[in-house]
């Protein structure tokens, strides 16, 4: 690295609005890009969340005419696609962007410009997806947004059944965001392996960084199958190829295999990062070191490995051979073992601690309960014959929302309350946070607990209406009320963020009395992160500094 121009950019605060905007657009700083990822993700979280609320309102009563079927199908597709690719992935990669260099004591990611490229590719791809609402030839007055479901099963996506460009928007925008995510993954791996500060061996990396590496590897291996399948589908639709064209001998199942080879690891790409957050937040608020660091990391790697070999458990009903079904049932149930280890180790961390019940910890504890339930309903779904009944019903919907909201969104909120002071220098308001937590908890359970039973009572997923007299009315009404309460809770969160940005309590560099490197620098951290490259001797460098008489490195 050699300098060319010495240009100080300390006068940002005085810059006019346009100038400040320009600063953000041209930035290559990992912290700003991370915040842009998170902010963008939250924006789409609100949009896709409102689409979910609309769907719940439509399903509140049987035979409802609030949302026509065509519009409903677009909602369900856009909600699913956006929540995975425009909300989950960017928010979590945003956190990694922000945290990984700070936690390994580096000044930036390994490839800052590639990072900027990845972000903008994601951002423009995301815009392209929602542009479909106004861009295409509008049928039924609702644009031509994709309406084939987020896993877009062939041959519904072929030209013969999906005319116009709606499916093309889905392919192109998701392809672009995947390329962006791949760029981020390359960056994270390189940073973690090549930019660690002195003394930080692989065995001393914070759990978050370890899991970021695991997730990055999963992205490198799991996103290409989706991209490749999308290229094939694009060739089918534009060049007349026959990959998934059943009329020319193509296979509908091949798409399902390719999609789920991506799709199942994707779930873990979304959930492993929040394991990392939990492994950071729970120790700090229990005032104890993480229980069984090596086992935690090893279990995550095991989950990542096994998750690559379980994809066909989404396909138990497609008529696989008994041997195939038995194999995928087995591999799926094996995931429960490392997952169980993680939950037990978190309990081991809490055990004997002194738990401070601040908002991040509240969300983390709710996460523990909900993730356990989600894991157990997951085992039920892995029991292939049971899955023949449960798959494609609201039981599955409830199960994966327990993972996606009960675990991931709860932990994203926990992480937001935890790292907000680091990123902004101000604390989020504790009382609003409590209101947010309890509202969200109540709303979440009102929505998704009854939906398990709706599935058992024969309610398939992705239906825009249902007939009265089938025992579904009460369950759906409760679920819809819960959805509105969740929306309200998110509103409280947004208010909290806006309020705290302006009037929040000053945080100082280390408000939680925590132990990883990011808390040793100012809040918000300066552009260069650390004036002097730090040097560490244990997994908890700040513990060593705080307790010089009893440092960690004696024991690790």
């Amino acid at each position: 690295m050699e300098q060319e121009i010495a240009l100080s950019a300390r006068e940002q605060a005085e810059l006019p609005l346009l100038g400040r905007l320009h600063e953000w657009v041209v930035t290559v700083d990992h912290k700003r890009l991370g915040l842009m990822y998170i902010g963008g993700g939250l924006l789409f979280f609100v949009v896709a969340g409102l689409q979910a609320v609309m769907m719940r309102l439509q399903l509140a009563v049987p035979d409802n005419h609030l949302v026509p079927p065509q519009v409903f199908n677009r909602f369900l597709t856009m909600h699913g696609t956006a929540m995975v690719f425009l909300v989950g992935m960017p928010i979590l990669t945003g956190y990694f962007n922000y945290l990984v260099p700070l936690m390994v004591g580096a000044r930036d990611l390994a490839f800052p410009r590639l990072n900027s490229f990845g972000f903008w590719l994601w951002f423009f791809g995301a815009l392209l997806l929602y542009f479909s609402y106004i861009g295409g030839d509008g049928l039924y007055g609702a644009g031509s947004a994709p309406d084939v479901g987020w896993f877009a099963y062939a041959p519904l996506t072929e030209r013969a059944f999906s005319r116009g460009n709606s499916t093309d928007y889905w392919i192109l925008s998701i392809f672009l965001t995947s390329v962006g995510s791949t760029a981020t993954a390359v960056n994270i791996i390189t940073t973690a392996f090549c930019m660690r500060c002195r003394g930080m061996t692989l065995g001393k990396m914070p759990v978050v960084v370890w899991l970021a590496v695991v997730v990055a590897f999963m992205m490198l291996l799991a996103l290409p199958p989706l991209s490749a399948a999308q290229v094939m589908l694009l060739l089918d639709r534009f060049a007349g190829a026959h990959f998934f064209d059943t009329q020319a001998g193509g296979s509908a199942l091949l798409w399902q295999h390719f999609f789920w080879i991506f799709g199942h690891p994707e779930v873990y790409i979304l959930v492993i990062p929040v394991f990392g957050f939990a492994s950071e937040i729970i120790p700090v608020f229990s005032r104890k070191v993480i229980f069984g660091y090596q086992v935690m990391v090893a279990a995550s790697i095991a989950i990542a490995f096994i998750s690559m070999g379980v994809w066909a458990h989404h396909m138990f009903a497609v008529g696989m051979t008994p041997a195939g079904n038995a194999f995928f049932a087995t591999s799926t149930m094996l995931v429960a073992v490392p997952t169980g280890i993680k939950i037990f180790n978190w309990i081991g961390t809490i055990w004997g601690g002194k738990i401070r019940l601040r908002v991040p910890m509240l969300f983390s504890l709710a996460f523990l309960f909900q993730f356990m339930i989600a894991g157990l309903t997951g085992i039920m779904l892995a029991v292939a014959p049971f899955d023949w009944q449960l798959t494609d019903t609201y039981f599955v919907v409830a199960h994966f929302h327990y993972v996606l909201i009960g675990a991931i969104v709860f932990m994203i909120f926990a992480a937001s309350y935890y790292w907000f002071p680091k990123a902004t220098g101000r604390m989020l308001n504790e009382r609003l946070g409590q209101v947010h937590f309890w509202l969200f908890l109540i709303g979440f359970h009102l929505t998704f607990d009854p939906l398990h039973f709706a599935g058992i009572h024969g309610m398939p997923r992705r239906i825009y209406t249902y007939q009265p007299g089938r025992g579904l009315e009460g369950l759906n009404l409760i679920a819809s009320i819960g959805a509105v309460i969740q929306a309200l809770a998110v509103l409280v969160f947004v208010i909290n963020v806006v309020y705290s940005l302006a009037w929040g309590e000053e945080a100082g560099p280390d408000p939680w009395d925590a132990w990883t490197l990011e808390w040793s620098t100012a809040s918000p951290p300066p552009e260069y992160n650390f004036a002097v490259e730090p040097e560490v001797y244990s997994r908890r460098p700040l513990w060593d500094l705080k307790h010089p008489d009893d440092p960690d490195w004696l024991y690790e």
Partner: protein
Amino acid sequence: MELPESTPRRRARPLRCITRCLVVIGIVAAATCAAASDWGMGAANSRLAPPDMFNPVSTPAYDIETLAWFAIAVCAGIALVVGALLAYSIIRFRSRAGDEEREPPQVYGSNPIEFAWTVVPLLIVFVLILTTARTIYTVEAAIAPPNAIRIRVIGHQWWWEVRYPGLKIVTANEIHVPVSDPAHPTPTFLDLESADVAHSFWVPRLAGKTDVIPNRRNTMWIEPRRPGVYLGQCAEFCGTEHALMLLRVVVEPRAQWDQWVAAQQKTAAASSDRGRRIFESTACVNCHTIKGTVADGRFGPDLTHFMSRETIGSGAAMNTHDNLRIWIKDPAVIKPGALMPRMNLSDADIDAVAGYLESLH
């Protein structure tokens, strides 16, 4: 939309907000309910038991239910133990006054206990795997006895074509099968095919679901032990009207089923009234078949014995005169997005066609 987001002014007070939401939801629900009609299906469904997988009447569904309860019991046991442990440790180790000065002991881990909580789940999972594998084979590898009933079910966008190859019967959306006496089992084996996109055949009280995939033939079997009408529907997203691709299985005593078979094998009454002429001279014949007439289309349901079915539009509406008229006039009123086009017939013609269809017993 009247979403409640815009209301809170000062601070979000949970209780007031919740009540406001309830009011808004109530208004929306009431408004939409008033406009909605269920085409008589609500009353018809209420007479039947809901399609509940834990209320099985057929052999594979029984097998699945047994295993399901086992899985639920195991999971509930784990949930209780782990949940109690978690709750206990949260309460027991919460921070108390005076705790602020000292850090608790730092425990790094314990190999034996971590080992133990690896092995115990492994054992549980192993037992579950064994029972799962056995049930998979019991259900999936069953061999059809020679006296089994054979049915071909073909999924279409958004209805079911049903063919009895041995009996030369073609019908739609309502499958008739004989009840199976455990002493002399007469199971029904279904070959599942698709004419367009992927669907999934699911009647929860009879068996688990099996996907209906184009360019592929899947099989499944049922062995109903009790007569009755069992509700099902398409379970794989298949386009606009996926929600209204409903299905009924009518399980009858053997004698009654034999009568039904005999009636279905006849050709339609050869009436030559005005309705039939209109039917035969419009595009109807391109998609529908009525045996004994020029109509031999395959895109839509076979109408030869139209009046033997309880519902129209694949279970979207009861087969009543009023509903039938509305359907012929514009199917989209009942089933928006249905592939049957609006025929633009005059009211008199609609009456005549409805009358003709109602003569097809």
